[in-house]
Symmetry: C2
Subunit: 332 residues, 2 copies
């Protein structure tokens, strides 16, 4: 029987276990994938800990947002999808049943995201969630234009590297932050025009403004929140957008109201499962934009370490260590 | 010599005094107005107290954002403006010199806002600042559509009444808040579909949701901020916009981050002098939209008390009392 990852209680990485489970035949409207590569996302840590917006269901709770595989069974009423086709299955609102850590998953056909034939399975598993997390904020919310500055905070994640590439595809200037200088070389190599080490900056706002030549940022793209919001927001350009897409800092965010009035600031939160993917219009615009950018040679997912499915606990522990540069992938 | 209002130190209403001053001839690019009606705005209280984003300049500091008058002198290089034409002069970034509390003011021609011939001087003095405060948030930011719900907080101000009328012009449903039921009848008469007394609601979010039938608000339009943001934001519809255009509550606003992720909330601040008026593209779109809505019979400024210029201290004291329903005007 295929292997899948399940857990029976919220907790640390060691609650995850690999078990045998039968592959489920697709109901009408569903397809079954034989999975090969699985992209890891920080959301899965939150889910495992019981802190995600979806609640785990025990026992036998599945986990995982983003998996690549080939169709091996097609349910009634599904058209245009054939056995052997390669797809990515993206976030659903039923992760407990359709989590993709495993060798098989059966999902509604509406959750399949397009193949990009030139990418390997591992690259494809690193594509959609990260790049669609950027597409909405960069294109639909901030409307980044050639010459704009965009600040990509905590940029060494898969989303951060995606953001650097998308900024460059748009002709914008990506500036990265990282807590220290440890990842500076990798971020510059990936296309960041400057890297600001936030833990080392005596005056963070001034350090952020410097590479913009005083222009400030059209977009600040931040997975952190909390206390760093005000000094980062102070580096916005007039009419700039601040998009918070995570909460690495669990402390309250005091809204910088006076600064906001001066900057004409627009503040948004962005959750890719609902706003970038379940919203079909946004998803279709995003996947079309990104497929064109891939064809034009602008985008290539940056892979970090590759784990085997058996080593799922080690993969999660590594993701929690914040050592990675780019996407962590598991092979099913 | 004409009378103007000046003050020589920040403070309460009693720092304001009416003095004689010579009318200043217009420099190139400027026009001089003989003022007749002056609209009062809460910003002038903040300015008088030294709390506005512009700093008073002493001695002889002028004050006032919004005055109606007829052109009595035209500077070199000004075209299309003739003596006797009626205009409104709106906010400038030099209130200390170009404040409009008085019988004369000389300003750059770019600060003149259009006449609406069918309105009296008093009505015209109550039009642009209030209605342009709504135009940007309602039309450009939230894109209100027919059938949407809009929450107009602290609705008994001139801006609040303007918002009710603009919402109705757009086919949206205006719901008002006021601290008590004292102004309920006037707000319903003006077109609010419901009035929620915020000081009396046991569960404010539930009380706000009720008149929307559970749909929630496309836009929350709020001059308060601080502690009321979270319970009001909880009544937003998915993808809703929260626009803060004042700070009646000086306490910090803790951003409702988790709620924002769930609601896909967009949070904006809006300052009409800079975002609605100094931004020429926004101003031109706004005045054109509003002139059409006036022509279609949708908009008519709601006047509250009329004071004489000599009674400027009483006018400010009245504005600070929060008793008004609509616009307070002074006659020059």
């Amino acid at each position: 029987m295929p292997n899948i990852v399940t857990f029976d209680a919220v907790g640390g990485a060691d609650v995850l276990k690999v078990v045998d489970a039968p592959a489920r035949d697709p109901a009408p409207g569903e397809v079954r994938l034989s999975l090969s590569s699985i992209g890891l996302n920080r959301a899965e840590i939150l889910y495992r800990e019981g802190l995600y917006f979806q609640t785990p269901q025990f026992p036998g709770c599945r986990i995982g947002l983003e998996g690549v595989g080939r169709v091996d069974a097609v349910g009634e009423g599904v058209t245009g999808i054939n056995e052997g086709d390669r797809f990515v299955t993206g976030p659903t609102n039923t992760m407990a049943q359709t989590g993709v850590y495993g060798q098989t998953v059966t999902v509604g056909a509406e959750h399949l995201l397009p193949d990009i034939p030139q990418f390997t399975d591992d690259e494809l598993a690193a594509l959609w969630v990260a790049y669609l997390t950027c597409y909405g904020p960069f294109v639909e919310i901030a409307g980044l234009q050639k010459g704009d500055y965009v600040l990509i905070a905590a940029a060494s994640s898969s989303v951060g590297y995606a953001g650097i590439q998308i900024a460059k595809a748009l002709g914008a200037h990506p500036i990265a932050t990282s807590r220290t200088r440890a990842k500076e070389a990798a971020l510059l190599e990936a296309g960041a025009e400057a890297v600001i080490p936030t833990d080392e900056a005596a005056d963070l706002t001034a350090a952020l403004m410097e590479p913009t030549g005083g222009a400030g940022y059209r977009l600040i793209f931040d997975p952190i929140g909390g206390a760093i919001v005000e000094p980062m927001a102070a580096a916005l350009a007039l009419n700039g957008h601040y998009v918070l897409y995570g909460l690495l800092d669990p402390n309250p965010t005091v809204y910088p109201t006076l600064l906001s009035f001066v900057k004409h600031m627009h503040f948004h939160t962005f959750m890719v499962p609902t706003q970038g993917i379940a919203d079909r219009a946004m998803r279709d615009k995003g996947t079309a934009f990104l497929a064109r950018a891939v064809a034009n040679g602008h985008l290539k997912p940056k892979l970090d370490r590759i784990f085997e499915l058996q080593d799922v606990r080690a993969a999660h522990t590594y993701m929690e260590s914040n050592q990675q540069n780019g996407k962590i992938v598991m092979r099913a």
